[in-house]
Amino acid sequence: MKRQRGRTNLPVPAIALACSAIAFFALPLIGLLWRAPWSQAWRYINDDASLAALRLSLICSLWATVLSIVFGVPLAWLLARVQFRGRSFVRALCTLSMVLPPVVGGVALFFALGRRGIVGQYLDRWFDLRLPFTTAGVVLAQTFVAMPFLVVTVEAALRQLDGRLEDAARTLGGAPWYTFRRVTLPAIGPAVVAGSVLAWARALGEFGATITFAGNFPGTTQTMPLAVFLSLETNPEKAIVLALVLIVISFTVLVVLRDRWFFGRNGGSSTALP
């Protein structure tokens, strides 16, 4: 209840491991900062192409996150709560895009949604809708690689949740959807936020599937990682600066969404009894 005296709880070896992990993540960042051409930084950032890429990256990754949540949370719910034949198969299917080398993912997306793809050819023929090489294509490619992270995280949380809380809500007259929205979702809040962060970060960093499926057109499909990658070919210093911009942005978002927002207002132990 009060102070934390004597209550760290973590054994020393665990802290040592955790700190090594932190160092492991910090060192490459320090490396980037160390090698960054600070005098040139502003010039590299304040460049139309870079800014356009940044804008596009933010918009697309946000859309991809929204799509991941809208489709991924119900999917996780289905996987966690409905017993059906082939559930393991469906679960594996939905983690597919994580193991696929992203470029292959892009090629697979072509086969599905490209001009000659299974579904894409009809989209083209009937609706005159072409997804490859468009901003929508970027969003799709990002969603394809990012959504599994949300699904897996949320499913795990649903399984950890006491289903009887939902029972209680239903006896109070909560229809399934109401119950889900007002009981299930808040209870698994930390996991949904965590999953969204994972998906967002993955979408923001997406490179291979995007460049393959959506191409690399400044302003419409050239996202920040593509800009970074291409700068690496021509101007490694600029690449470092742009990568740092990407890092700073995600840092800002994650740090600003502090613990309180991040993990709901009860900040932990949300399935506890009084």
Binding site: I59, W63, V107, F110, G114, R115, R116, R130, P132, F133, T134, T135, A136, V139, I211, T212, G215, N216, F217, P218, G219, T220, T221, L230, L232, E233, T234, P236
Partner: protein, 232 residues
């Protein structure tokens, strides 16, 4: 936002091999000045990736390949409109760290077991070139890595992780002071041919053809030469 990359009438989309990036950006600027109202957009990627995208219906008006193999794929698929124009060549150099601390002076020096040498993979043009050169020189070496991109080799040398690699002359030039080049004798060297073609799906093939012609023109050649490319 789902703005499309489908071109408007005065927009010209050029798919170009990424080794041409600096040179073509300069050419693009001059071309736009010379043809008011046109707007050139480049898609710089590895030739192979460009071919893959092209075959998937990417909206390119001009395709520029870094080697004959990739150009052949486009021709085989019938995606071209007219014959390709060979407009530049590129040769290879040994890329070493600035100041050449390991004292590498010829291909034979690369065979030293203590050196960290990286090459391009056989599947990409620069890898095939390097393999031919080493065969020509009769040097047998085991590199630490076969990179999938020539820039990967460059990055490894400029960051100090590798001692040497075989890359295009233009690549060494592009990184400036971050690396030095050691020339490979012409009799052992390989020339890589760059060619450009107008695509079948080009919405405004006239403008596209003008661009290809501009690249092959004296002005285009001058810019290319300034970036280290050889004449065709």
């Amino acid at each position: 936002g789902s703005e499309s990359a489908q071109p408007s009438s005065d927009e010209l989309i050029v798919f170009a091999a990424s080794s041409l990036t600096e040179a073509f950006i300069a050419i693009g600027v001059e071309f736009e000045e010379a043809n008011p109202g046109t707007d050139v957009t480049f898609n710089f990627l590895g030739s192979t990736e460009l071919v893959a995208q092209l075959l998937q219906g990417a909206p390119a008006a001009v395709f520029v390949a870094a080697d004959d193999v990739n150009m052949a794929k486009v021709l085989d698929a019938g995606e071209n409109d007219g014959e390709p124009v060979v407009f530049a060549g590129n040769t290879f150099e040994i890329i070493v760290e600035p100041g050449n601390p390991q004292g590498i002076h010829d291909l034979a020096d690369l065979a030293d077991q203590d050196l960290i040498v990286v090459l391009c993979a056989d599947s990409v043009p620069c890898g095939r070139g390097a393999a031919t050169i080493l065969t020509n020189a009769g040097v047998d070496l085991t590199p630490k890595s076969f990179d999938e991109r020539v820039k990967g080799v460059v990055t490894k040398v400029t960051s100090g992780e590798a001692d040497a690699g075989i890359v295009y002359v233009t690549d060494v030039l592009a990184v400036g002071a971050a690396a030095d080049g050691v020339a490979i004798p012409a009799e052992l060297n390989v020339i890589n041919r760059y060619s450009a073609v107008v695509t079948r799906s080009a919405p405004n093939s006239a403008v596209a053809r003008t661009f290809v012609d501009f690249v092959a023109s004296a002005r285009g050649q001058a810019i290319l030469a300034a970036h280290g490319f050889l004449a065709p």
